[in-house]
Symmetry: D2
Subunit: 381 residues, 4 copies
């Protein structure tokens, strides 16, 4: 599908025309009980991250908590949910069907987010993700400020390059200034961040990029310090951790989820080592997300992308696309993310450190410009 | 434009419907004399690599020697050509116009090569070029054999990784067995190939990948040997060059073009150092090409892609797409090639050495299978 | 450290000269009890993956189960172990110290595996990992055969590109022919493999690389089928899974570990979702490993690399380097693996499909050549 | 050789100890006449980019115009030169020999620029070029200012991503503010820059990254406009080109070299289409260079790197290393550059647009800080 990763985050999406013949004539969706815990009825409907409408009792309804690769569950109270298969219990009613055009009572509104079709014309520069494409930092800055100012829920997902590469200070700035509603990462991000706070190195590499003597053990010593304290918050409290990303999250009450992986050393006591428990903890944030920023992480970006709807539903029921930015040094991660269904991702091919620095700069400039404009209008008033 | 790089090379392309209202009502194309040598009239029509029809005297005609980024010239004998702007002489008639839909007398048949549009459906794995896509060596082998057997003109374009990585023997095999009609490369390919023949190293690196002592000067010594002989052919003749790609080209009368670049050491005496003369020499082959294989080269692939039509015209006037294979270690080169208009390129993301080895293996197997089948039928007859 | 990733796997490593003044004069290592479960004494010694000797009771001894980022534990029976910090219990004796030169009773034999120092000479092609370096398939084939024939324990670690890209048949061949002692992967590898067995697609992409209609749900249906059966082995038994990698593992009693991640759909019932339990399961194989092959996976390669010693100890106490091959489409993964301490990894920059195909070809040829040689000698005898 | 790409540009290099036994006992270098124009005597000495001393008449002397892959020529006036082989005329005296340690009268001072040897210690993060390494913009800014202020000669070498990606304004700023002594690029950079000035697009792509209708011909129209004017300077003069990089070069008398390649459309009239003439034009600048910055170009970076010494000789005869920065989106280009002998290159793995923006920001901040400091001292004085 050629949904292009355009970054708008403001476009109100069109609603389907339910009076169109096919939809008007559609039957109710069919539901079949699950044969066992975590096992679905054959022919179950597999969800996408696009706006989806299910006909129940002659009425088109939208399920709660949309995500891809889930199933539609109708609960005892008649409420529709999108659930991971593993969470379905025996006997629960699961929608079945393959058609996405409404003919079996389920309509996936693909058109809502589709980019305009390229017309039949010879063109250069049509690839979607490329280091040769310009990056509109100004637009990203405005979206971020708008989300903060209207109480949105921007979710940041980061890989260890964020800390390796000294973008750490910039990340702290975004946390301190209210641009981060949730921070999702793995053990390594927190370990590097805390190693930096305690020893001034990451994996023993100094700020100037040199391998320090005895450095290979420093991340283990950092982990041990936190394990001794009992938790990251406790280590902030007792003064072991004095600055950095985790420190800022603790101090500013920004919730974080550290998901475990087989690559983890330690791990830190806060890490959720069970992948399913970690997914549940992450999804508690993605269902609230109004914006998502993925920085230099393939595992966590795709993990989060899997559970992120491509759209946001406003309180008045209108929908808009969920601005999703994916930053990576290579085109590969962004293409992979899109190939796994997160078509709405807008790819930025650059270095994480540079991305953070320039984004912050543009946000600061925009805020300054607004402050000046406000002062002006106050003076004039 | 979403022409997908499907590899067929066998599909007969549809012809335009000239009776359709817009084309039937089209005016003749307008031609304006060039104001100076190498300078075009304002508003000139800029060509693509797609099948193009020009209305002259009420008749739709195809220009000769198609390529992108050229202009349409109507010569004194009424013949239509596609020419590079720099080759246009003062007073020559150059077509003007911007429309590609025939409304100004020029019709670019975009539909001829367009892939089938993806329908409006949620899908995974839709990116065009990815290391995660399978590679159909069997199909490539069959296309290559077919081209050889029907007297086609496969053009091979290669970068130095071909020699660095020991795919050299496989390249020689393709030359010796008649699969190469022209070999386009740069100074480096020939230098590494000849260094290997004389000293057993490339850039001083041995076959097992180690840097040899004193090795950094060996490519300069190889070049000097050929300069002393006067030409590559002369160095083959006098026994200095005993094996390898250039040796095979000389021995099997396969024409080669070595184009110069600012990166060249030496260069070898056969290198065409003027970029425009080199383009002319390359184009002498691309206008005959019925297949193109680009291996591990960005510069030469894009240089050749610029002058390669996306289609082949058969003697009976029918057209088919020109099978174009682009092999590179990263998705980037293929995407860049497509972004510069060579939409028909089928990308293979792999190592040049491995590509050559497996392609040869599949060609050998296919030839063997055919030989067996033939024997069988002879026995039965 | 410039241990170069040379592939030998046969070199007997030198033993330290314990009569050298520094080592002869070394004190016993110092041990301090752990203050709490999973918490280490300050100043603990952090291990590497290199041969390590600890002086206890005036004698230099080697700890069991070497790995990097672990600690040295002296148990009640006087046996030395290398353990992950999280597995240390309160009161257990943990070695302390920073020096690796023996001066505190712990000697890391860096010299054992160090590549020969490049001498002070100007050279080209000195980078360690590059797509421009040749790949010695013949050597890899011989090492693999040798490991099989002497009862070694080759551990294969694979990412999903192995299945995406049709290297599946080749992987099955290696399993069926006794070259795989353990198979470590994630949920995705097994899901794609099983989706292919049941539906003929991976993530809905057909064998020719096209996105199939309705394909995005097929991996969920495959998972559901296995969940219904209860396990992969049960699904092989009941005929749901008829071929492929997991099928071959079950049929040939090759143990596999599927480690969970936050990116998992499903997951399959065999997946170990807890990262620490998964690490323990993986390590049960890495402590037996005599060879390791990582294919197209960053997460699992680095996860396994973390727990893999750089050497093998033979029954007679002699040591040799542990042949470690890392295959990836980009230099990045191999460099990252080395940067995280798996210096011995030999990088192969290519496509997973092509790697598997050529490696199998070389193994087959070598086996054939040996069979012929054996026949010859029997005839002669 | 493990000369690490450390960025200092300030370190005074040590001079060799000519009283050491080997050097003290060295013979004079041996010179042999060239047998023909552009042909060298067998056994010629092939130069490196490191400080080199040649013994002539019992005295150690340094040749002029150092570069790698050249030869040592002793002219009729007794002056030593490093020359490209192709420029050597029949009968000219060319040094012969293989030894670089002085034993044949030629001493390559490898030690002068060698990084400190990594000691035998287990370390993480030792790879030289990686996106995970921090980028010290502050240091780069200070070096750039220092070069400007002491009349150095910074050479900038750029690929088209510089213009594609809107770093164009930042490049203009560096030109206008005196940080660019020469600008080396290819046809494409100038074409994109001029297309932007005239049409607001690059290859038809708008500033927001979209392909514009009719856009594929715009670069051809831009070229035609300049060809009509006769030269870039003439097109600046007549107002066709109103802004941008080429405009700034013309207005601020910054010399530029546009080297031709087979990939060129047009080309622009200023392009030197002959590769050898282009090399000569480039070398006129590299022999004066005191700093080099390569941005997003493989061809031009390696072409320039080939002819760039690794050091600068001051007027007082002392030497320091020549700060060489290489910016690219992938580690590959930097590694390739180093593999071809430009060991001193400091690699920055990032997006060209972001690099330019942050570098400018740091230069501006540094200049501002100095202005403030100066004001302060004036006030105090």
């Amino acid at each position: 599908m050629t949904i292009v990763g355009h970054l708008t985050g403001v476009k109100t999406l069109p609603t389907p025309d339910f009076d169109a013949p096919l939809l008007a004539a559609a039957p109710d969706a069919r539901f079949v009980p699950a044969p066992a815990d975590g096992v679905l009825p054959e022919g179950f409907f597999s969800t996408t991250n696009l706006p989806t409408y299910v006909r129940v009792g002659g009425e088109w309804r939208m399920p709660r908590e949309p995500r891809m690769d889930g199933v539609l569950v109708l609960d005892a109270d008649g409420v529709l949910w999108i659930r991971e298969a593993r969470r379905v219990r025996v006997g629960e009613l699961v929608a079945v069907g393959f058609a996405e055009d409404g003919s079996e009572g389920i309509f996936v509104h693909v058109g809502a987010l589709m980019g305009q079709e390229a017309e039949g014309e010879f063109r250069f520069m049509t690839s979607e993700v490329s280091r040769e494409k310009p990056i509109d930092y100004s637009l990203m800055a405005r979206i971020l400020i708008r989300e903060r100012d209207r109480g949105g829920y921007p979710v940041w997902v980061a890989g260890p390059a964020l800390v390796h590469s000294r973008a750490r200070n910039d990340m702290v700035w975004f946390i301190e200034n209210g641009f981060v509603s949730a921070f999702l990462a793995g053990n390594a991000v927190a370990v590097h961040d805390i190693e930096t706070s305690i020893f001034g190195t990451t994996l023993g590499m100094t700020g100037s990029g040199d391998a320090s003597s005895g450095g290979h053990g420093l991340h283990m010593r950092a982990i041990n310090r936190v394990r001794a304290a009992g938790s990251i918050a406790a280590a902030v409290e007792n003064g072991d951790i004095r600055d950095g990303i985790m420190h800022a999250c603790v101090r500013h009450d920004v919730p974080f989820v550290l998901s475990g992986s087989i690559r983890d050393d330690g791990p830190l006591p806060d890490v959720i080592t069970d992948a399913l428990a970690a997914q549940d903890a992450m999804r508690a944030h993605t269902i609230k997300a109004t914006m998502a920023i993925f920085i230099a992480t393939a595992l966590h970006a795709i993990g989060t992308g899997n559970m992120l709807p491509a759209f946001v539903t406003e309180e008045d029921g209108s929908m808009r696309d969920l601005a999703t930015i994916c930053v990576d040094s290579s085109e590969f991660v962004v293409s992979k993310l899109k190939d796994r269904g997160t078509h709405q991702a807008f790819g930025v091919v650059t270095n994480a450190q540079d991305f953070m620095h320039i984004l912050r700069l543009y946000v600061e400039r925009e805020l300054q410009a607004r402050a000046v404009a406000e002062d002006d209008s106050m003076v004039r008033a």
